[in-house]
């Protein structure tokens, strides 16, 4: 963990920087994704109906231990924190690499972690599934719509729609009025849905009557654990959004420096320069917001709900704006299927709806910051 000198003098400010270990982790993930997850391959995979590359996932999740970053060593993980997982998500966002990291290694893992330590068969089943998931051997997915927001009661119907990465899951965590259950994918009925974001496939999940799966927790415990999973997912999604915005800005700057019209690089026109400079300001601000959320999650700060909602309200907008500008400033080429800009736009817009929209997070903030709505 980076210790800025300010920490030594006993401030309670969050640590908003990247530590050396985090920078090393970033370099390793970037190398791996650079070698193995090029955008053209992703496009081809998507068109073949499956964007997911099991070998890449194995290398990231198991090989590098990224799946277990949030899990303490004694529970079978790497004993790192949300700050490191956030760095992995930044890189996944930049590379637009399809991987069930947010769903399995963050949301489901954090849900299971919140249940760890229970006694009896429920505790044993949770511990086993957590260790398998942290080791990257099992992909576990919380069977809720990707749009489920922290701070709201999640749906518990017999069929759940828009579940992200369900098709890649070995185990689904099913939330019912009477508790949380682990169901093997073979025992669930999955209907693929055509997603706006092809890099994060969606499906409807229905559990056949009679197969209840393994019970992991009763009502109250399950609700709190699911809330924790969603809150953590929302907080770390901000880092994925940061990665998306960074890529879009860098690529747009690179392209407009090279593209000539009117005998000048188009990037020398002030109208465009100012738009890119404003995007840069948004990226810089998004980074502070995303780091603050990751740090609050890592330190268990009292401020965590507020930090997460601020990050979601800000970073969702920044990522969508960057992706929209990326398409517009690439113009014709930005509208083509061949150019990756559309992948970023689709992911950015889907991420804006994921885990609570900016509007939903601002409603949460209205309460957290004591700024009540009019009567």
């Amino acid at each position: 963990m980076s210790t800025s000198p300010a920490k030594e003098v006993g401030t309670t400010e969050p640590d908003l920087l990247y530590s050396e270990a985090e920078a090393d982790l970033r370099a390793a993930v970037r190398d791996l994704l650079g070698d193995r997850a090029d955008l053209q391959a992703t496009l081809a995979g998507m068109e073949a109906g499956d964007p997911y590359d099991p070998a890449l996932w194995q290398a990231l999740a198991a090989g590098m231990g990224a799946a277990g970053l949030l899990v303490p060593e004694k529970l079978g993980g790497q004993g790192a924190s949300h700050r490191e997982a956030a760095v992995v998500l930044e890189e996944l966002g930049r590379a637009m690499a399809p991987a069930p990291y947010l769903t399995s290694s963050v949301i489901a893992t954090e849900t299971l972690l919140a249940l760890a330590g229970q006694a009896g068969p429920e505790g044993a089943a949770t511990a086993e599934l957590l260790a398998e998931t942290a080791a990257g051997r099992t992909v576990t997915v919380l069977a809720l719509p990707l749009s489920a927001s922290p701070g709201a009661e999640p749906p518990t119907g017999p069929a759940v729609t828009a579940v992200a990465d369900a098709r890649l899951a070995d185990v689904l965590l099913v939330y019912r009025p009477d508790g949380l259950y682990a169901v093997r994918r073979a025992d669930a009925q999955l209907t693929p849905q055509l997603a706006l974001d092809l890099t994060r496939p969606l499906a409807t999940v229905a559990i056949a009557g009679g197969t209840s799966g393994t019970r992991l927790a009763g009502t109250g415990t399950a609700r709190a654990a699911v809330q924790r999973g969603l809150l953590t997912g929302a907080g770390l999604l901000a880092s994925e959004q940061l990665g998306i915005a960074e890529w879009c800005l860098e690529e747009t700057v690179r392209y407009t420096r090279e593209r000539h019209q009117f005998n000048r690089p188009v990037g020398s026109f002030q109208a465009l320069k100012h738009r890119m400079a404003r995007l840069w300001l948004e990226v810089v601000n998004a980074r502070a917001a995303a780091r603050n959320a990751a740090d609050a999650l890592a330190t268990g700060s009292d401020d965590v709900a507020l930090a997460v909602s601020v990050a979601q309200a800000f970073c969702s907008r920044a990522a969508v704006h960057a992706a929209e500008e990326c398409v517009q400033l690439h113009a014709g080429i930005g509208m083509t299927w061949e150019h990756p800009a559309h992948l970023y736009l689709k992911r950015a817009k889907s991420d804006e709806l994921a885990l609570g929209t900016p509007g939903r997070h601002k409603e949460l903030l209205a309460a957290l910051a004591d700024l009540p709505a009019p009567r």
């Binding site: 800025s4 401030t11 908003l16 920087l17 990037g267 840069w280 709505a373």
Partner: protein, 393 residues
């Protein structure tokens, strides 16, 4: 090298020797400077100890806890934020010894004689002339928008010493004595009704060559240090949550439920998020500087705060409803500092319009970000290799 522990005990010893309650304010500040506790990162003898900049927080915390007087940094912002770092970087030993102590204690206030009627954003086009005469320079010209000139003892000044050179190369940087004959300061009333800035007329002002900062013709390079520090000073304040303009608007919102509307609620929450994120960004910048990894973010904070201050004060004015139609005081005043919190919302709305103009307009700062941070191509230029005297005006 000094560490936090050592500095804390040093500060406590200093306080024990001069309990703030029983010591005259000016004496206390002078002694603090002499003890190297003014700005600990400055060299010994010049108010510092050559310690890391971050350790200033240790000293400030100890002094604040003891109820020690401060040097009223808002009143002496130009001196502290702009003149001091420039003098430290480019001044002679004699200049540093002469100017830094009274600057820091606030005994001597500084102003900045840069902008001219014909040279604002294009500052390097300035026309105020300085002509060498023996050991002196004779300066003639007009400056404008000069904040604090009416209370200033000294000014940092840039003037043209070679009209035949291209504009950036014929400028020299000076310290100007505001009490000299030939310096005339006239209030310039502004949008808020008060006169915080001035016109300054310089007529045959004699500046000794010993008051030149940096080499003849190198003034533009020296001025870059000043301008860089200006942006950081304006944008780089450390704030608690709701510490800026947003805190005032949020307080009004909480205290006056009858004024709330859904539309204003939506906008208030948007701005609250933006203000919180801007605060975190400034904090992140501070942590980067402290960790010795300065990033380009500094050029961004001023831009963001300028927009936020304007939008937040605009929203608060609307929130006030019929009260928003009123103004607190139009009498022409000559304030010693900008006072956002002591005046009403109408004043804040008007004064924040200056946030996107003072210290470089937002448009010019966006150019700087685009070119220096993002590396986008420069605008085509027509003034580069042309002698200043041949430029269109």
């Amino acid at each position: 090298m000094t560490d936090a522990h050592e500095l804390r005990s040093r500060t406590r010893e200093f306080l024990a020797a001069r309990p703030p309650a029983g010591t005259d304010r000016a004496d206390f500040l002078k002694a603090r400077f002499d003890a190297g506790l003014a700005w600990v990162h400055y060299p010994p003898g010049l108010g510092g100890l050559g310690a890391p900049r971050t350790l200033q927080a240790v000293v400030d915390a100890e002094l604040a806890a003891a109820g020690a007087p401060d040097n009223d940094p808002r009143r002496i912002m130009i001196g502290l934020g702009m003149a001091a770092p420039t003098i430290l970087a480019y001044g002679t030993e004699e200049q540093k010894r002469r100017f830094l102590r009274p600057l820091w204690t606030g005994e001597e206030v500084w102003c900045q004689l840069f902008s001219e009627p014909g040279a604002g954003s294009d500052l390097a086009a300035l026309g105020t002339r300085a002509v060498r005469d023996g050991d002196d320079w004779v300066v003639t010209g007009q400056k404008v928008w000069t904040s604090s000139a009416h209370i200033a003892r000294w000014a940092i000044l840039i003037a043209r010493t070679d009209p035949d050179a291209p504009k950036h190369r014929g400028i020299t940087y000076f310290v100007c004595d505001m009490t000299d004959p030939g310096v005339e300061v006239r209030p310039l009333r502004q949008i808020t009704g008060e006169a915080e800035f001035n016109e300054v007329f310089l007529t045959g002002v004699r500046i000794p060559d010993a008051y030149r900062i940096g080499a003849v013709g190198e003034g533009w390079k020296v001025a870059q240090t000043t301008l860089m520090n200006e942006r950081v000073t304006i944008g780089g304040m450390r704030l608690p949550r709701e510490g800026g303009m947003i805190g005032l608007a949020a307080a009004t919102w909480r205290e006056r439920p009858e004024l709330r509307t859904h539309e204003l609620h939506r906008r208030l929450l948007d701005l609250w998020v933006d203000a919180e994120v801007a605060r975190l960004t400034a904090e992140r910048l501070r942590q980067q500087l402290a960790a010795g990894q300065p990033g380009p973010e500094g050029s961004g904070t001023k831009l963001v705060f300028a927009r936020l201050n304007q939008e937040i004060s605009s929203l608060e004015l609307e929130l006030r409803g019929e009260e928003g139609l009123l103004y607190d005081d139009w009498t022409m005043r000559r304030p010693e500092q900008v006072d956002f919190t002591g005046r009403d919302i109408g004043y804040r709305y008007l004064r924040t319009k200056g946030n996107s103009i003072e210290g470089g307009t937002s448009e010019v700062l966006l150019n700087i970000v685009a070119e220096r941070v993002l590396g986008l191509p420069a605008e085509p230029r027509t003034d580069k290799d042309v002698a200043w005297k041949d430029l269109a005006r």
